[in-house]
Symmetry: D2
Subunit: 325 residues, 4 copies
């Protein structure tokens, strides 16, 4: 990213995102802002995009965090987990289907080498095997994957001239932007695949609660015993807080030590969530708060009896009154 921060741009918010242009991340970014109101700054990787926000060179970053097929995006989870100075302020969902495209004049049957990001390849492998099968019995002419740093990077490269691959799997946006010929649309082994992106800012006032919110945390367990994970989860369960996602990530100091990345249902302003956080802080050696923000799907939590804000307040008032009469 070219970080020159010229004066005339200073009034527009600066958004970094996982580039290059034409990626699914850009599609997510365009859900929350656009080039007419913000400066959009593609970065070569997630870490760089987030570091720009942490250092104050950018106002917001949009990065992928989870794919319904591939799971969590480790670079995002780990950068948020170990770092400070970052807060998630929103999430966006983008359906993920691919476009197979090539330089003009290339026929589908000519394609033996396809370049794309490894995650994209993983989501199209079955489609490729069916539509571009090996012809020889020994499978020696099966289509091979040429890895790229992003789906858009592959498209950009191919648009510049012949490459050691005939086609790319990228977003429809990339196919249009790099003027490639579309060989197949809606390529996807799982038609309902979705990637979830997050919008990240420096710490500041939290987004207002909407009634359908998420809170993201990273938690270390006190020890590796059977009961440690159980005791951590009980801090949520006793307050009726549901978990939307829990993923373990290696702490990195040795094999077998994990932290947990958690999306809990609710907002920091919800009593039940505050109580759960207070409990976690007491029993876990590390608890990082990574933000409360509206759910992209707008689904409110199913509250069990005794877990609404009013229940907590009534209980607290009852206890407060016990000592005085």
């Amino acid at each position: 990213m070219t970080a020159a921060h010229s004066p005339e741009e200073s009034s527009r918010p600066r958004y970094t995102y996982l580039g290059p242009e034409g990626t699914f991340t850009e599609a997510a970014l365009l859900q929350v802002t656009g080039p007419e109101v913000a400066e959009l700054l593609p970065c070569t990787d997630v870490v760089t995009a987030l570091d720009q926000v942490r250092s104050g060179q950018a106002d917001r970053a949009v990065v992928p965090v989870e794919n319904s097929i591939e799971g969590g995006v480790n670079a995002t989870l780990d950068t948020l987990a170990t770092g400070t100075g970052l807060r998630i302020v929103g999430e966006m969902l983008v359906p993920v289907t691919f476009t197979l495209c090539a330089r003009r004049g290339t026929a589908l049957r000519d394609v033996r080498r396809i370049s794309t990001h490894p995650h994209a390849w993983a989501q199209c492998r079955r489609w490729v095997a069916e539509h571009l099968p090996a012809t020889a019995d020994d499978r020696s002419d099966a289509v091979v994957h040429v890895p790229a740093t992003s789906t858009a990077a592959a498209a950009a490269l191919l648009s510049e001239g012949p490459q050691p691959f005939e086609a790319v799997l990228c977003s429809h946006l990339s196919a249009v932007r790099y003027d490639l010929e579309v060989l197949a649309e809606n390529v996807a082994d799982n038609p309902g695949a979705i990637t979830r992106f997050i919008e990240v800012a420096a710490p500041g006032p939290l987004p207002e609660p909407t009634g359908a919110d998420k809170t993201t945390l990273t938690v270390h367990l006190p020890d590796n015993e059977a009961g440690a994970l159980l005791r951590m989860l009980e801090q949520f369960a006793t307050r009726g807080v549901n978990l939307a996602r829990i993923e373990s990530r290696p702490i990195g100091d040795s094999l077998g030590r994990y932290s947990f990345s958690i999306d809990a249902e609710g907002h920091l302003s919800d009593e039940r969530l505050r109580e759960a956080l207070i409990g976690l802080h007491r029993v876990c050696p590390v608890v990082n708060f990574l933000g409360s923000y509206p759910r992209a799907d707008g689904v409110p939590p199913h509250l069990r009896p005794g877990t609404a804000d009013a229940d907590f307040r009534a209980a607290r008032e009852w206890v407060a009154g016990l000592g005085s009469h």
Copy 2:
């Protein structure tokens, strides 16, 4: 009890207790006050003693609550549980051994009928069988029990003249007070038997925390499912609050519905106990707070990591600070 409240007595606190004079309850009462500073008012039963406090006619009541052999004293547990307007402010322990005594001139071998309270009888039965065995093979001359409303009442009756029993099992205090001849001292099947008594007052400022306190509660469960008791107990466990006693008592409306009488370790001023109470109030249909008071044995709780007041305060401050930066 004669409830006349004459002016000249109004400056002395009035203590009711389970009478008559000479019971173990009086021995417990004398641990906390005496006739020189307070008016001591024996009552015929626990309910009456407690009602005098509730109605304001007495300042304090001393009643038994638990015996190490017989278990909980139902009248005490039930009167506290269903009633309002009462708070436990202290507890006293009294070792329970009995004195077998009779009218002057009675020999041990003459004793075939013994009067005492049924609980006392239960705690001396084996001693009686060994020391006053049946002589005939058909056991038709085995010593029989003549029930009395209290150990002291039996002694009082015998001191008045011949009765349909030759001896009584009572406290040493009663034997002396009613001038009976002691046939055997330290009668007890279980030499270490102890009765726990409580001192009860009208609601008011709680006794100061000492670091070794108890809090007594009555709790109803939301339903009778397997998990309901478990969920109630988790409200204590997630905050590291130990239970010193838990007893079920019938709610009384139908067979199979129980309330739970609980002594939790800690004082209302302890953070972990307040949090547990807040949790109970949310998930249980009924929670009655019956007082926080010093433990008679002075044993402080074993605190697990993360459950001290400082841990709760640090956690709460951490959460409070999350929203603002």
Copy 3:
């Protein structure tokens, strides 16, 4: 009890019960047998009735175990808990209302002293206060309680001649049997009061499962920590076994040490109950099995998914097959 075991009676089963004749226990006994087929032997207390079975002098004993107002019958719970050689084989429910009766010619207004068992007194106290109120302001002429070893014993005594009490509260059966004049029927502060009785035998084949059974246990906890009771209960909960009753009883060696008397839903032949027992045996220092028997109310348990016998068998077969292929 007259223990002579004459030859001509040897073919009839011998039933002991908490006597004397005319008690509610006899009413319970008559639900399961009768004088035409069995020898009915009243005993002076619960311990004696049970000991006769343990020693082989009787075949069965019927004793009270729980009252919907008074709670558990300690003598029964403790004798079963600490003893060996006894098994519960059935339970019976008896509605408990009392008859106030006196010698012929006594009017209700003459009654100032009433004899009955303390539990009966506790269940009629409000009725007495309403129907036989004190006339003087100082309550010095309030009706007083003269304790008896049983409701029937009081009735028997009164039938023999004038006593230091004018009336008794006993069962209707006793009023008829001892030919007393009925002053009031259906005396009870709680009209729905019920006492539960159990039929006890020496160990032998268990009653057949009916689909609506109970299993009674006594359990000691490994330690007094907050989590010990929780971990014990989890052994039931993880197998979906509901508890119909749980009562703590002092172990007796020191204050603050309790055992738990438990009625679990289900029969020893139910897989979920066997698994729970296996778990209890592993984690608790003492587990006493006191019998599986049909519930008196015939209500089958509400089974949660995955806890039926078929689920356990399918799971076990699955695991058994894993090693071999």
Copy 4:
């Protein structure tokens, strides 16, 4: 892989592994076999290596499953989870440090483009930033990453002739095998990084228990409620089974639905593990058993009281005996 299965090779076991030659996977493979006793068959990806075993064309596969920095290898976890016909029979640990190497005559300062697998790049990024810093303020000449399908593939490519990158980060084995010049040894941001590999076979007799074993499972939860994960974990905790690893993976049908990949301590022949499996099978809609095998680190589990095989057997015998006496 060349799948011709010639007669003379049929007596030697066939091992597939994640190729090409020279990868860390080959180093892991060489811990359990070698070219003198087995046919070693590099595959282009994890899925292919495992499919060869499932179809019977190979006897064993060695693939990476987890890295102490990068976390789980999704392709391995997902292929095992959804597939049938595969069992883990062993695990191997390989320390992961990299060698930076280039064509002869290349100096460290000439390196601006480095090819390697993205995971390797992630583990060396900091080293590169320190040892090959950007010279210009605008960072436009920072070293860039050229992704490769494997560290060994990058090395192989560079050995064939000039490429659009000057250097590769690969294993020392690859540097030697492809005759590249070593520019730096032991390149690693985290010197203690370790990758765990597994050896996979078709279902058959399990490896013998060693006392320090692992069992790998994939489990689906009955629903997404707060308590579902808790209830699943309790099946392990109530039997004292510790978890060495738990990772969530998307089920793939929609965002927010996860399966859990679990390494539990213990062998299928351990009673506590069998009981936990029986419990899981009852409460979870899907439980896949993926093998019991010796831990690479040889560390035996810490057994809590009541969870040894003898405890389970004693408990089972106790229960079995209850019905008959």
